[in-house]
């Protein structure tokens, strides 16, 4: 549905050229929620603006439903933009207009009839559950409510894609969840493709089907969310994943040689990672029963990624070298990935 081919965007500043986006190629499928994650300054906001050409890339192609947007006239481009809704970190609602008028705003410029506008706005107000606030002004709403209005406004022109630029970054965790659930719901109900920019792994983890990780203007890792989460390749990706759990702490413990991670001669410190779908068996019990390997868990974490639980256990195995080796082999056979830390 959307294909970016070798998109590059450079900004000219006083201190020279800043390569905001470098040779990015991505393909976003119809109906999926695609996350783009990166630390601030990674170029993700510029990249999402290259999709509806709020920023014009100087090279590459932006293909939307088979048409290269860079080759369109201004007028054709504006027509295409109505097919792409966008929401922002700071909501960008019109302060001088009521909630109703804010949502009707894109429709008025599409020259729709008044009763058609009213029908659409009222059904959107119902969707975002703010029907009773239709005559309020944005300044009278909370952040979460404002973002819901912004979503309704973005959906008013019945777009095929929703671009979300840090849409939850200004919201508290509870409100973030509500907005994400709303986005997920409209993605399902309206079969709307969603592209979501964020610096929060928790956001991506909850609702994205696929994710691209950006660093220094480049996409360094990309894939199915569960794969990226269970087998991150790049340091920046691991970094992001560690922000949502305590795994990073283990490294701190190792570095400081904390008593918790000090092991005896007949012991091994291992990290076991698994997906819940293959851990129906009582693996740990099997290990101690059949291989005479004692397992003491010093750290555990279960992450629900896109409805798939991903677990990590760091444990100390006690037993003979031979038995431990056998035990780990059984783990591997059960699709638990094993990393011997020491």
């Amino acid at each position: 549905m959307i294909r970016l081919e070798h998109v590059t965007k450079t900004f000219l500043t006083k201190n020279g050229n800043v390569h905001a986006v470098k040779d990015v190629s991505l393909e976003i499928q119809d109906g999926e929620i695609f996350g783009i994650i990166g630390f601030s300054g990674a170029g993700k906001s510029t990249l999402v603006r290259c999709i509806n050409l709020l920023e014009k890339p100087e090279s590459g192609a932006v293909i939307f439903e088979g048409r290269d947007l860079l080759k369109l006239s201004d007028k054709e481009l504006r027509a295409q933009r109505q097919q792409m809704g966008m929401i922002f970190q700071h909501f960008n609602l019109m302060r001088s207009r009521t909630i109703y008028e804010n949502i009707a705003f894109p429709l008025r410029h599409m020259r729709l009839k008044e009763d058609e506008i009213e029908k659409r706005v009222m059904s959107l107000l119902e969707l975002i559950e703010l029907k009773d606030r239709k005559d309020s002004y944005p300044s009278q709403l909370s952040g979460g409510q404002k973002q819901r209005v912004a979503i309704a406004r973005a959906l008013a022109s019945r777009p095929k894609v929703l671009l979300c630029d840090e849409a939850t970054s200004a919201l508290d965790p509870h409100t973030t969840q509500q907005i994400l659930q709303l986005i997920k719901r409209i993605n399902k109900e309206l079969n709307l493709t969603v592209i979501l920019i964020t610096h929060e792994m928790a956001v991506v983890k909850d609702i994205c089907d696929r994710v691209a990780v950006m660093e220094n203007g480049k996409v360094v890792e990309e894939g199915n969310i569960v794969d990226v989460f269970s087998h991150p390749k790049m340091p920046v990706t691991k970094n992001f994943i560690n922000t949502t759990n305590n795994l990073g702490k283990i490294q701190d413990l190792l570095d400081s040689n904390h008593p918790l991670v000090q092991i005896e001669k007949n012991q091994k410190l291992v990290k076991l990672s698994y997906q819940s779908t293959n851990t129906k068996e009582a693996l740990i019990s099997t290990l101690s029963r059949e291989y005479d390997v004692d397992c003491s868990i010093i750290f555990g974490n279960v992450e629900i990624v896109h409805e798939v639980p991903l677990g990590v256990l760091v444990c100390v195995l006690t037993g003979s070298d031979e038995n431990i080796e056998k035990a780990l082999e059984i783990c591997r056979q059960n699709k638990v990935s094993v990393e011997v830390i020491k």
Binding site: N52, R78, M86, R95, S96, H109
Partner: protein
């Protein structure tokens, strides 16, 4: 009562019919020149904003030229501007003294001031709103009217209030050098003849006008701010 008034301001009561005309002339000067200046001021103010670097109709050359011309006019003291413009005033309005001759210099003197005020008011518009409107497919002209102007209505009203008040001051200057209105009245019948009652009453009327403009402005700002 009448006797009391005659006693404290004999000269004014003597010229009461001229005084009435002078007030009307001042009002006409402020309203007509003000309306025309507001129109041009808004047009130039908008051009200054939308042509600045990075904005929707970026045009550095137009932006620089317009900005320089405005600053040039703003640098000239109004009283000198009126004198320098007088041949042109005669050409345009067919008169070099009297009420008719006041409109042109008042407009030329006010537009640059107002344009900068409007520019400042509109420039405060959140960049995000413009971006959001662009993302909805609005054309530049629609963004100017529906976002820039519409969203800065309170600030533009504030700027207009300041402009009208400073314009009341300018009407007194053009009045004193051959125009009409309270400035001329005060100068001709008050200052020239050392009639202090006339000067004082002119001053009071001007102050009252200023206060009324300010009150209306404040009221409108309150009504339009949400």
């Amino acid at each position: 009562m009448m006797n009391f008034l005659i006693q404290i301001m004999p000269n004014l009561i003597d010229r009461i019919d001229v005084f009435g005309d002078a007030i009307i002339e001042t009002l006409l000067m402020v309203l007509i020149s003000g309306a025309v200046s507001a129109l041009f001021g808004i047009v130039f103010g908008v051009i200054l904003v939308v042509t600045r670097p990075g904005d929707i109709l970026e045009n550095r050359i137009l932006n620089t030229i317009l900005g320089r011309i405005i600053d040039l006019f703003r640098a000239v003291p109004f009283i000198i501007l009126v004198m320098v413009l007088s041949p042109l005033t005669l050409l345009i309005s067919g008169a070099s003294i009297g009420l008719k001759a006041t409109f042109f210099p008042l407009i030329v003197g006010t537009v640059p001031f107002f344009a900068r005020q409007v520019e400042q008011a509109i420039a405060e518009t959140d960049r995000g709103l413009v971006e959001a409107s662009e993302s909805m497919g609005l054309a530049p002209l629609e963004i100017i009217f529906k976002v820039y102007l519409r969203e800065s209505v309170p600030s533009i009203i504030r700027a207009t209030t300041i402009t009208f008040i400073s314009m009341i001051g300018l009407t007194a200057i053009v009045g004193a050098i051959g125009g009409g209105g309270l400035g001329a009245f005060c100068y001709n019948y008050g200052y020239s003849q050392s009639n202090f009652d006339i000067m004082w009453v002119s001053l009071i009327v001007i102050v009252i006008l200023t206060i009324i403009v300010q009150l209306i402005g404040d009221l409108l700002v309150r009504k339009t701010t949400h």
